[in-house]
Symmetry: C2
């Protein structure tokens, strides 16, 4: 960690502290040239990085910095979930204007780090005209990670939950039309947008169930399924898209940041068994041979998702 040390010390106090047992093993979190952790007792090490840019991925008039910090870590944890992995450690780089409320940002980061057991062990803090929060994470997997590329014709396609809640929440925050009847549902949708949940247990369950391919829905189901199908060289037929209460079917298909997982697996009974203690996933369709065949209820599915970047 470089930057202004006094400021960093105050911020670090909002993050999970190095536990005594880790310190006894010689781990070092924050404050040296590099963090030191013990080599994980797992055969597979996962590495992912993802950035959140104010004005590009988040509108700071609608998103608090606490929520931005939460999302910046959770979007990375979702990438670990989509491989069937478990969180290890996080590094946080914050570049932003000097009047940024860093305490709020690190509060949100610290909450996600605590809830999902992914301590922030290092990073960097520097000045920049625009706020950029770049988080990277390590993770572990006890079995071969589930890639995007292993789906085969005949596999069934599953999603871990209904979609569109995050997009509907954003619509409500923007003052858009409110199909959500009642303050309770409105609050659920806004929370889905502000505090997305990484499906870590679900990702491991899919891996246990023999998933052949998996991806998280950060850019919309249609776009993510297209990535998975491209990587696997398959087509697909969808029978249903589960729509979250209060969301539109367009939001379910194209909305980003739900962070549900989509996976392919050949054996429904193994899926049912692996998810016995979790919310049951929804079977939405099947993989087919010709990769240009991509249909929802008999119609060709366009793969447009959320367009950000470049």
């Amino acid at each position: 960690v470089t930057g202004e040390f006094a400021a960093i010390d105050r911020l670090m106090a909002q993050l999970p502290a190095l536990p005594a047992d880790a310190a006894a093993l010689g781990e070092v979190w924050i404050g040296d040239d590099a963090a030191v952790v013990r080599t994980p007792a797992a055969p597979w090490l996962l590495l992912a990085a993802d950035a959140v840019v104010a004005g590009v991925h988040a509108d700071l008039r609608l998103t608090t910095l606490q929520d931005l910090g939460w999302k910046a870590l959770v979007s990375n944890l979702s990438d670990l979930a989509a491989m069937g992995g478990s969180p290890g450690h996080a590094l946080v780089v914050v570049a932003g204007p000097s009047d940024t409320d860093l305490d709020a940002l690190y509060e949100g980061l610290g909450e996600a780090a605590t809830v999902y057991d992914c301590p922030v062990v290092g990073g960097d803090l520097t000045n920049a005209p625009t706020l950029v929060v770049a988080v990277s994470v390590t993770g572990t997997a006890m079995r071969p990670p589930v890639r995007r590329s292993g789906a085969q014709a005949g596999d069934e396609i599953w999603v871990t939950g209904p979609l569109g809640a995050s997009a509907a929440g954003l619509r409500l925050l923007r003052g858009g039309s409110d199909s959500a009847k009642g303050a309770g549902l409105r609050r659920v949708l806004e929370t889905a947008h502000a505090r997305p949940v990484p499906r870590l247990a679900e990702g491991r369950a899919a891996s246990d169930a023999g998933a052949t391919a998996m991806i998280d829905v950060s850019d919309g189901l249609a776009a993510e399924l297209a990535h998975l199908a491209d990587a696997s060289g398959i087509g697909f037929e969808l029978d249903v898209v589960p729509v979250a209460a209060g969301a539109t079917s367009e939001e379910a298909l194209g909305g980003g940041e739900d962070y549900e997982l989509v996976f392919c697996a050949p054996d429904p009974s193994r899926v049912t068994e692996a998810f016995a203690s979790l919310r049951p996933p929804v079977r939405i369709g099947r993989c087919v041979g010709p990769s240009e065949h991509r249909q929802l209820l008999g119609r060709t599915l366009e793969s447009r998702g959320w367009q950000h970047d470049w």
Copy 2:
């Protein structure tokens, strides 16, 4: 890796490719939700992250994007060196304007990744008003990493090479007064600024020599020694500061980004032995008890280094 996939594919072609033996072990670099590497066969895993912001850490009128890419990775490798570690893998997050010459940036990143055997295995690419390159790295160490905090009174203080060349190179690039006689030396200094070298072998040698504390000189010797002395709770007396040819003594003491290592060690003969096949380090002083005692040639040393950030 998210972002525009076609663009990323082109950029990734400039980075070291996944070798067949790593692929056979199930490693995955680039293009899935997370990179997959095998757990390193070392007891210590190092994690570091560092950002370079255009206009804050680098003036794009004086620095090419190739050089910026090189520096962004090397500043992280230097953090690994300062722990006595070896490079593992890198994640690169680039946020920047859409007209950024990404090919040039990734060319420089790829050169450093190849030279120092630290492949870029994942990352993110996104739009932002200002160019921010946030790199994170994993590293390994076979013995307990050398922290900043272990120096003791009586230890001698060493630096791995003369200082100030990077600052002198920047002065020349800015058109400042040229104490460097001749084009050859000018080129050496400008290269020291544009293409800094992480002292990886030297860091491991210092660790082998029983170094009690170590830090890399990214913000100037005076500032870095102050960090080390603060962390260790010691003072120091310096007899000499080795000045790079063409640099001023002020540049040697206050200039940033030399990336030489400063370390403390109790036994000079072990230092000589460990550095037998490397450029011999220079003994510059010793650690003393009272932590407020920080002198260079009998005068109190101010700890001002390069001021960036917050």
